[in-house]
Symmetry: C2
Subunit: 282 residues, 2 copies
């Protein structure tokens, strides 16, 4: 396994691999890898000749009040996990390599970045789109892998790739969960023991809502009110940021629950901001 830190080295290597006809798969991450990343890396390994992992805590996607400094990092363990998943190349650039002195260019995706997490994290998806755009130009993969847990991120990246005609296939894999339903996230590390006990309430709320929809509920307002109540009662330490029922493609709130809808929520629980979602075909 190679660890590459320079952009030019990485680009020369992937261009060589492409000329040789090798299929390149790519998993972009911010490190502190867990089994959610593991699932992406397994698919990447299985579906491609070359498996590339990037680890980069992208400053541009953090707001000034957010957890850039405290975001968990563990290079040693990440490298071990990457080896276990038979990664061929880790791209591990520094901030200075990715954003040198006079950095001026950003990729904006309009409309779908203004809602859900984008509403409380202005600039976040600009940072995500920009760094993913850069990484796709550096790695030049045939396939790129994301987890459904970051549902809005997946929609934004798909839109960017389609709009900018980036020649890559975007693969989205199901959210990996703890046994009690909590979606895996590097930020779960922030939870105290007591907060951790309440955290499964996010997924329980989504499952409750799914059951309501299966029973015939079609009114998104009634449903999200019910979800908020349920969530507050099971997770009293949490502060709900949003509970929404939106069109899975446009991310606009639906007026009636039908077609493919995304049920999504975000909760501040202690130092962590947790998100979760389910995608439903009604």
């Amino acid at each position: 396994m190679k660890i590459i830190t320079r952009i030019k080295t990485m680009q020369n290597l992937t261009q060589k691999l492409r000329r040789e006809g090798q299929r390149i798969g790519f998993v972009p991450t911010m490190g502190y890898l867990h089994d959610g990343h593991g699932s992406l890396l397994k698919a990447c390994r299985r579906q491609n000749d070359i498996s590339v992992l990037s680890i980069f805590v992208n400053p541009v996607q953090f707001g000034p009040q957010e957890d850039l400094q405290s975001y968990p990092r563990d290079k040693k363990n990440d490298v071990l996990l990457a080896k276990k998943e038979n990664v061929d190349i880790i791209f591990y650039p520094s901030e200075k390599v990715m954003y040198p002195g006079r950095y001026l260019t950003y990729i904006h995706v309009d409309e779908i970045t203004a809602t859900l997490c984008g509403a409380s994290r202005p600039g976040h998806f600009r940072g995500v789109a920009t760094v993913v755009g850069k990484l796709l130009n550096i790695i030049q993969p045939h396939r790129v892998y994301f987890g459904q847990k970051d549902a809005q991120q997946c929609v934004v990246i798909r839109q960017m790739v389609q709009d900018l005609n980036i020649p890559v296939r975007v693969c989205v894999l199901p959210t990996v969960r703890e046994k009690d339903g909590l979606a895996l996230s590097s930020r779960n590390a922030y939870l105290t023991e007591k907060e951790r006990q309440e955290a499964p309430a996010l997924y329980q709320t989504l499952k409750m809502a799914e059951a309501e929809i299966r029973r015939g509920e079609q009114d998104p307002r009634r449903l999200t009110q019910m979800m908020a109540q349920f969530l507050n009662s099971r997770c009293p330490q949490g502060n709900i940021e949003y509970v929404m029922c939106v069109n899975a493609e446009t991310l606009e709130p639906v007026k009636i629950i039908q077609g493919t809808v995304l049920l999504a929520l975000a909760v501040r629980l202690g130092k962590a901001r947790l998100i979760d979602n389910v995608l439903l075909r009604v």
Copy 2:
């Protein structure tokens, strides 16, 4: 010579050519080709195995009050000229192919797009950066060619390519001029005979200023005032939009004329908006 109108067809072809080890050169244009484009196509032909020309009048770089509808078009003559320059592939997409229904993604280059032409054409360079970003993803060239006449465009594209790590070499070729010094431009077609007689004043003003600098002038304010007076006297029908002396890389106004400076001007002359510039190492 192939004419390709679909993105997928173009992408499949260039990916095949790249796998075969062919070097691809690319000249993006809005058509209505003149000898300025001809000079780019000649360099492209000489320096690469495959020469690709795109013709696309990009609506996103025109303001609502600008000349999108009246912008000159002549497909038949463009194809003839392309053949003459031994172009291998013309990429000739429709608006609908480039900007389908739900188009949401734009590339912004900050700071250097707010001055010079960007000041009076808000959104123009966002449109330019976006379409060039798209075209580079579609054509995947090794080299891309631009003319120095659009000096700010060249700086913006270089910055975008560097910032987003796009694996292409940006080649900028000298402005091609009529015998009387007027820079070639598709928009020269808008000039009446009388306006055309005054139009060489733009380049004469730049040459006068260059001579002043060579004689020792170091004060940009005095110089640009002199340029404006000179230009107004030789081109009385024109309305000056700007006359500036800026740092060639940052495009910021210089306080003293030294290093590499860009002398640039824009003039409205009848229905045409004309620009010209000279790059000077002082």
